[in-house]
Amino acid sequence: MSAKDRTLRGKVAIAGIGETRYYKHGQSPDSEFALALHAILRAGADAGIDPRQVDGFASYSNDRNDPSRIAAALGLPALRFSNMQWGGGGGGGSAAVGNAAAAVAGGVADCVVVFRALAQGQFQRFGAAPPGSAVSGEAALTFPYGLISPAQRFAMRVMRFMHDYGIREGAQRAIALASYHHAQANPRAVMYGRPLTAEIYDTSRWIVEPFRLYDCCMENDGAAAVIVVSAERARDLKPRPAYLLGVAQGSEHRNAARSHNAPLYGTSSFTTVAPQLYDMAGVAPKDVQVVQSYENFTGGVLMSLVEHGFFTAEEANDFLVVDNLVAPKGRLPLNTSGGNLAECYMHGLELVIEAVRQIRGESTNQVADAEVSMVISGPMVTPVSSLILGGEAAL
């Protein structure tokens, strides 16, 4: 079998999507495990699949909700696939879909749920220092200097990138404004009814330079799930199938070299991943009609879009203006549900769901005739991942 034959392109589809209500962190009345169950059952109902037909689970970022417990709780006849994508942060969001897809395409399982559940009130918050006064390993080289939170961990990558290419603050601002703009049409969004203006952005406090408050994702409670089945099976189900055209994960040479020693430092970690993605999908950046790009921090989105070939770093100041980024008429509608900044920080799985909605024609900020829809997961961490979904016409 040649490398070209070994592809996931067109072999599977996302047939069901499910979400709980999205809450500010600590405000979910349900436990994290119950949230996961609700999202999974809703994805099944959306697809028209009996939850007892689910036979596999994939997640990422050390999700605490064990597939074996879920299988027992749901009374599944058999568990055939349980998979955890290594790596922290949201970098595994698209990879988890890819892992599920590989299992289905390879005959390991038939109906795999990709899910992520978070109740940060029940557990540790992402943006606060973990408890404990002694640290070792990589943390010993960073925490004593106040280099602790994700924002602090990634600010210097963005600072260097902006320095190298003369990128101005307005580029990050446009990304934040686009997410908030889209959230105003999305009643599910935590920031629905809370518009952001350039003035509010410009006067917001620094979290860590070069990130202001609105450059940073929210922290939320909730759960999201999608169901991956074979393309044939998806065609027999009621929702319009969102076929997987391509998926890729990883990072470039020595990205995780300790103490911030990645040879290529000002990067979102996609320089080798994005070409792999396009190669499998058989599309070019110009074919992509709508993008959901994980905002841990807006600077990460900026580098992700460059590394996925939508514009060069030198063009970033000109391209990243609000008009270019908003549906329905922008050149590259971005984060059309409001994303991690303004819809919900469901660790980026809500971005996969929004990408499916675009293919179905069901987004609250719909791009006309969207047939090619991209998700970029977790910039600056490693491994990162991205995927491209397509409608029937894109196959």
Binding site: A129, F143, A155, M156
Partner: protein
């Protein structure tokens, strides 16, 4: 704010060497006021942070070599939001990533001493400054950077 001999409050997380001994020579060196980093005994490649194997030639003969501690600012950040309880009411502080041309361009972290609101320039020369915490439960020494 009380005066302290330290750049950040004493209640910040304290570093301890890894249980497997990988970075012990580094932490021992800082206690002597010496900056030591990894260098491959076989191909002479520099390496930081510490790892058991040389990334360039895959030799396990990693040695440790003293460096002068002069470099240039490769990147930096000014943190404002206090993510650790010890930083409440502290105000902004600067973290610098410093490239050491004398050691194959490895990069080291630390705080940038001086006015926390100072203008920082990527490429500016800096030198290492040791900050001993002799009164800590397990004494340790941090390495900071000072503009020169």
């Amino acid at each position: 704010m009380a005066t302290t001999p330290y750049y950040l409050p004493a209640a910040m997380p304290a570093p301890v060497p890894e249980a497997d001994g990988l970075d012990k020579p580094y932490w021992d060196g800082t206690r002597r006021g010496e900056l030591v980093v990894q260098r491959c005994g076989k191909c002479r490649a520099w390496q930081w942070g510490p790892e058991w194997i040389c990334h360039a030639c895959l030799s396990f003969e990693m040695g440790w070599e003293r460096v002068e501690g002069r470099g240039v600012i490769y990147s930096w950040e000014r943190a404002w939001h206090p993510v650790h309880p010890a930083l409440k009411e502290h105000g902004p502080y600067i973290v610098a990533l410093v490239e050491l041309p004398e050691a194959g361009g490895i990069r080291m972290l630390g705080n940038l001493l001086g006015d926390p609101r100072q203008l920082v320039r990527i490429g500016a020369p800096v030198e290492a400054v040791f900050e001993p915490h002799d009164d800590a439960k397990v004494p340790f020494t941090l390495v900071h950077w000072k503009p020169i």
